[in-house]
């Protein structure tokens, strides 16, 4: 499972600034294709920031800027002007599901329709996406109900379906289970497992057991104590990182000595 896999996202010497505050310093790692990569680390170390570089979500923050390089299939993410194409390729699932105030069906069909796909294409994409998000059996008889009527876990799978509908290649997930109960969490983890065959998944999690369960590779990040920038401490196959960490700080974190 952890066999060699080409890099989908090549991050090299990436630094990130919120105005004058440097939030990330000199991060380099290769995120392998069709694998699950977890980002772990204590609060404030820049996991969300790093994730949001990958789909340029930081464009919404004024004065935020990235230095260095992030390449997606050779496309320079930090400089591209084809932002919409990038975000279609690199989907994102947020901590809170935030369903659109529409029906279950329309939530998933929303983007395909706006992208101008034909009716038949939209219908197919929606059904495939909901099925792939392991939600079809639960909602197939109530597709016209408001999305807000779903449970939290179902809503989160609906946002995954929404993201799958535009046929991304990479899926970014920022603590997708932190608002869910253990059963709903398990379902999402199963889902991640299955999706990893087709998609490159990067998941931020606070839960080390979760990283150990779902991720093929894990990156441990830490905030510098003086200048408060986030840095990458160690990046390795998950079993290696948890069983034989090379950096004492990684070991400290995973054995619960700090963070």
């Amino acid at each position: 499972m952890e066999g060699a896999s080409p890099a989908k996202l090549e991050v090299s010497s990436l630094s990130f600034y919120y105005g004058r505050f440097r939030a990330l310093k000199d991060i380099s790692l290769d995120i392998p294709e069709n694998r699950v990569t977890a980002l772990i680390g204590p609060s404030g170390c820049g996991k969300t920031t790093l994730l949001r570089v990958f789909n340029r979500m930081y464009d919404l923050v004024s004065k935020a800027r990235a230095e260095g390089s992030v390449r997606l299939d050779g496309m320079e993410v930090t400089e591209t002007t084809r932002l919409l194409e990038l975000r279609q390729k690199v989907g994102m699932v947020f901590q809170r599901p935030s369903p659109f105030p529409l029906s279950i069906y329309d939530n998933v069909a929303f983007a395909p329709r706006l992208l101008g796909w034909r009716r038949q294409q939209v219908a197919e994409a929606v059904e495939t996406a909901i099925t792939d998000a392991a939600l079809w059996d639960e909602v197939k008889d109530r597709l016209k109900d408001p999305a807000a009527s779903l449970s939290g876990g179902q809503q989160q799978r609906l946002s995954i379906a929404r993201c799958l509908a535009v046929k991304p290649e990479v899926i970014l997930m920022d603590e997708p289970c932190s608002a869910l109960d253990p059963v709903a969490t398990l379902k999402i983890e199963d889902l991640i497992d299955r999706l990893a065959r087709q998609y490159t998944i990067v998941i931020v999690t606070h839960n080390m057991q979760q990283a150990a369960r779902v991720a093929d590779f894990t990156a441990f990040m830490l905030m510098d104590t003086d200048e408060r920038y986030g840095q990458l401490i160690e990046f390795a196959p998950t079993t290696d990182l948890f069983n034989k960490p090379t950096d004492p700080r990684t070991e400290g974190y995973i054995t619960g000595r700090f963070g």
Binding site: M57, K89, F110, A111, L115
Partner: protein
């Protein structure tokens, strides 16, 4: 013991004060309503009042149909102008209006809210009446639209700001263009709040007299052509109430009642719609 007594007394006083101020606010409203209803009711009990237009003093059966039609047409035209422009400006302010342009639009709309409506009427007169040498419903509709615009802009802005940013992010993360997310996701989600703003603006415009004085001017016959002078309910009240004849004054009360009821319904509807917006937004 003593302390308890003190607490009871101060509690009581606070309660009296709260009820007193509430009463002070309600009394004028109640009086205006009661007085208008009691004075206007005899007029509106007669269906002729809504079907017929002006009749000379002494001839029975005069009505306000021409004024009602004029008000509806002019406020309708004004809404057609002000509501789309206002919504787009409000959207612009939230989505792109961080810089100078946004501040300028905000300043302009705040100034417009406070501008005396007679001045706005004068502006419409100079722009659309004087050059053409005749009064018109259109010039009045433009004046009313200028009055409505800032209300629509600012309530749209407020309604959109109620929508959590996470909804916008979710839309953008799907690779949708910013303006599409704004117009096709955020605006529909904020629709009830935006409708509230439009209704408040309509209520404001319907009750205005000053901007109509030298634009619509008034008309004694039923006229549905907005390029000509038009009657309007507030104008009719203004004109009839100043006449010495009881018949005219009676009709003025009737027209005032119709106007008050229209504005009240619009206002109450807007409040109802706004509650729905709050309930909806809290679920997002």
């Amino acid at each position: 013991m003593n302390r308890n007594l003190y607490r009871q007394v101060s509690n009581g006083l606070a309660r009296v004060f709260v009820y007193g101020t509430a009463l002070a606010a309600l009394i004028p409203l109640g009086l205006v309503l009661a007085y208008t209803v009691s004075k206007g009711l005899p007029s509106v009990e007669n269906v002729d009042f809504f079907i017929n237009s002006f009749r000379p003093i002494g001839i029975p059966g005069g009505g306000v149909a021409h004024a009602l039609a004029g008000t509806v047409i002019m406020v309708g035209l004004a809404s057609l102008l002000a509501v789309p422009v206002g919504i787009l400006s409000g959207v612009y302010l939230v989505e792109y209006g961080r810089g100078r342009w946004g501040d300028l639009i905000r300043l302009a709309s705040d100034v417009l809210v406070g501008a005396p409506s007679i001045a706005i009427g004068l502006f419409a007169y100079a722009l659309l009446v004087a050059p053409f040498h005749h009064f018109s419903g259109i010039s009045a509709a433009v004046a009313l639209a200028v009055l409505m615009l800032p209300v629509v802009i600012r309530t749209t802005e407020g309604a959109i700001e109620l929508i959590p940013g996470s909804l916008r992010e979710a839309g953008l993360a799907l690779g949708l263009a910013r303006w599409r997310v704004a117009l096709q996701l955020i605006v529909p989600a904020a629709a009830p709040g935006i409708v509230t703003g439009a209704l408040l603006a309509v209520a404001r415009a319907a009750g205005e007299t000053a901007p109509l004085l030298f634009t619509a001017f008034g008309n004694q016959i039923l006229n549905l052509d907005p390029s000509k002078p038009m009657a309007a309910l507030p104008l009719l009240v203004f004109n009839y109430a100043r006449q010495p004849y009881p018949q005219a004054q009676q009709q003025a009360w009737g027209a005032a009642l119709v106007l008050v009821v229209l504005v009240l319904i619009t206002n109450l509807t807007s409040r109802f719609v706004f509650r729905r917006q709050i309930a909806l937004a809290s679920k997002l």
